[in-house]
């Protein structure tokens, strides 16, 4: 029997709620839950909160932007992963495929190397991501094969490696005292330096891309069938595939430009969401966004608090993601068909 989706969504909301609570309260300056709610109610009603100014400052100005960014980046990567896995009918696919992450990384590293400003670095990351995906797509079109999806995936791996070599070259040329540490830390993934001004360039592209994907949710169901079947059902797969890839790449690039390369979220979270609410994209996309946001909030809280210095996000997600990936490989058919 089909699983009712309400319990699945309840779990998704709980993951996000737990992530939000922990991210706001845990840290070098612990905040009580009552204080947290006092500040939030005060913000909503416009009154002055009955808490020390330092507590209010930590919640609103120190942790606030970082919490919002972590939630957005996690949701974005999970939604992009959901879209890519459906489009490529492959459970082992993530936003790193198609070279989106590698391209965005090259763009941002180039920006740091040229000592550009924050917005220029963001723009370069986005251009790099789109450029990588466009090259992958061009290779896919040039190599005419029976299985266009397989060609795209393989081209993504190859182009990703090429852009990775570009990143290596720039690191090799970079000033080892001023630039290299910034590049290295950023490449490993971090939200430590997030400020309120970073939120708009992060939110805009993520909202736009997610909206496009959600609007296409029924077509995405049909697109997860073999290409010829989808076309026989009246779906113009060529144009829609470009639209879905562009939207998912936009979402990925925005999060890479802000938080660096945070792997695995786009691989792990779609699977969890699918086991909770089933494969219908109408339910899958919102569930993946909720869980992805909650998941990265938990990871980021761990990154801030587990050690005296910040641990890069990409390292923590790899610790979680690698065992998950191996388990997935071992039981792929079972997971893949579970509702």
């Amino acid at each position: 029997m089909a699983r009712p989706s309400a319990p699945g969504f309840l779990v998704s909301f709980l993951v996000l709620a737990a992530g939000l609570l922990l991210a706001f309260t845990v840290g070098r300056y612990p905040v009580g839950i009552t204080d947290l709610f006092a500040v939030i109610t005060a913000q909503l009603t416009g009154h002055a909160p009955n808490v020390p100014a330092a507590v209010e400052n930590v919640i609103l100005h120190v942790r606030g932007p970082r919490v919002i960014a972590a939630g957005l980046v996690g949701a974005a990567l999970a939604v992009a992963g959901t879209a890519f896995q459906g489009l490529f009918r492959n459970p082992l696919v993530s936003p790193d495929i198609l070279g989106a992450s590698a391209g965005a990384a090259l763009g941002a590293v180039l920006g740091i190397f040229l000592s550009l400003g924050v917005f220029a670095i963001q723009a370069l990351a986005f251009v790099g991501g789109l450029l990588a995906v466009a090259s992958v797509y061009a290779v896919g079109l040039a190599v005419r094969a029976r299985d266009p999806v397989l060609v795209l995936v393989l081209a993504g791996v190859v182009i990703g490696a090429l852009f990775g070599a570009g990143v290596g070259l720039i690191k090799y040329l970079a000033d080892p005292y001023n630039q290299l540490p910034a590049m290295t830390f950023w490449l490993l993934g971090s939200l430590a330096s997030i400020g309120p001004s970073d939120l708009i360039p992060l939110f805009g592209p993520i909202a736009l891309g997610t909206l496009v994907l959600f609007a296409l949710r029924w077509r995405m169901n049909v697109m997860s069938l073999p290409d010829e079947e989808a076309r026989a059902l009246g779906v113009p797969t060529g144009g829609l595939r470009i639209a879905i890839i562009a939207a998912a790449t936009l979402v990925t690039s925005a999060s890479v430009a802000t938080a660096g390369v945070v792997g695995w979220v786009g691989l792990v979270v779609p699977h969890i969401a699918r086991t909770l609410v089933g494969p219908d994209f109408g339910r899958l996309i919102p569930a993946a966004a909720l869980i992805g946001g909650g998941f990265l909030l938990l990871i980021d809280t761990l990154a801030r608090t587990a050690a005296p210095v910040e641990i890069p996000l990409g390292i923590l997600t790899a610790f979680v993601g690698t065992p998950f990936f191996i388990w997935l490989l071992a039981s792929v058919s079972k997971t893949w068909t579970a509702p």
Partner: protein
């Protein structure tokens, strides 16, 4: 209405699979496409569906070139029943059938209550309403084939094209699917199906089209085309004709 191919050369970018093929299908008619493996059956099927452009010649639907129809217009006239396969995602049977309604909606639309009513009717028609909420991945091969038939009819097409509808089905389900194909013709659909079994063609089809090495060997009424000599030439094998004394029905057996 008529779906027809005129002097078709079919194939892929790097090779030609068949040439000089003329074929037509009227609504209310059931046509079986027979031939040995690698003879071009599937390629011809995909060309007539508009999924593969012909290398030469033209496919026409209702006296207009099929190529000028959009994917959506085409899907409202011609439905495709692929070989039943294990799906990648565990969509419910209802969702799979609802996908047949896609061409009746706009780019951003989801299935409406009317679409749900149509798919419920199709599930009833094929006697699989009890499977509505089951994951498509958890039902039997025969049930999957019926689900794909229900999805095709949910498109409300004039033509239904089936690729090896009886492959990998047990004996009982083969008979079931053959009866459904007959019923599709009787309800006014133009039906084209490929099969490896001439007996299925005799049972379900009005006409047979024999395809060998990309060439048409014969095209005509089942009882004239499906003779022992013709089939032996088609498959390059000796056949035995068996006749049931009670019903008068006959069947071929390969030697």
């Amino acid at each position: 209405m008529m779906l027809s191919g005129h002097d078709l050369t079919i194939g892929y970018s790097d090779r030609v699979v068949g040439s000089h093929l003329d074929l037509s299908l009227k609504t209310g008619e059931v046509l079986a496409l027979l031939g040995p493996n690698g003879g071009g059956k599937t390629t011809l099927l995909k060309t007539l569906l508009g999924l593969l452009p012909p290398k030469d010649g033209e496919v026409r639907l209702d006296d207009r070139p099929l190529a000028i129809y959009t994917a959506r217009e085409r899907a409202r006239r011609i439905a495709y029943v692929p070989q039943s396969h294990a799906a990648t995602f565990a969509f419910t049977v209802e969702t799979v059938v609802l996908m047949g309604r896609t061409a009746h909606g706009s780019l951003f639309s989801r299935p409406s209550a009317a679409d749900r009513a149509v798919s419920a009717r199709m599930l009833e028609r094929f006697g699989i309403a009890h499977l509505t909420d089951r994951p498509y991945t958890m039902i039997s091969g025969g049930e999957r084939q019926l689900t794909l038939l229900a999805r095709a009819l949910a498109q409300e097409p004039q033509f239904v094209v089936l690729d090896e509808p009886t492959a990998s089905l047990d004996f009982g389900n083969q008979g079931r699917v053959m009866r459904e194909i007959r019923a599709l013709g009787a309800s006014g659909h133009g039906v084209l199906f490929t099969t490896h079994d001439p007996n299925h063609a005799m049972r379900a089809a009005d006409r047979a089209f024999l395809l060998r090495q990309g060439m048409c060997l014969a095209d005509g009424a089942v009882h004239t085309v499906l003779s022992r000599a013709q089939l032996e030439a088609l498959y390059g094998a000796n056949l035995t004709l068996i006749e049931d004394r009670d019903s008068g029905k006959s069947a071929f057996l390969p030697e």
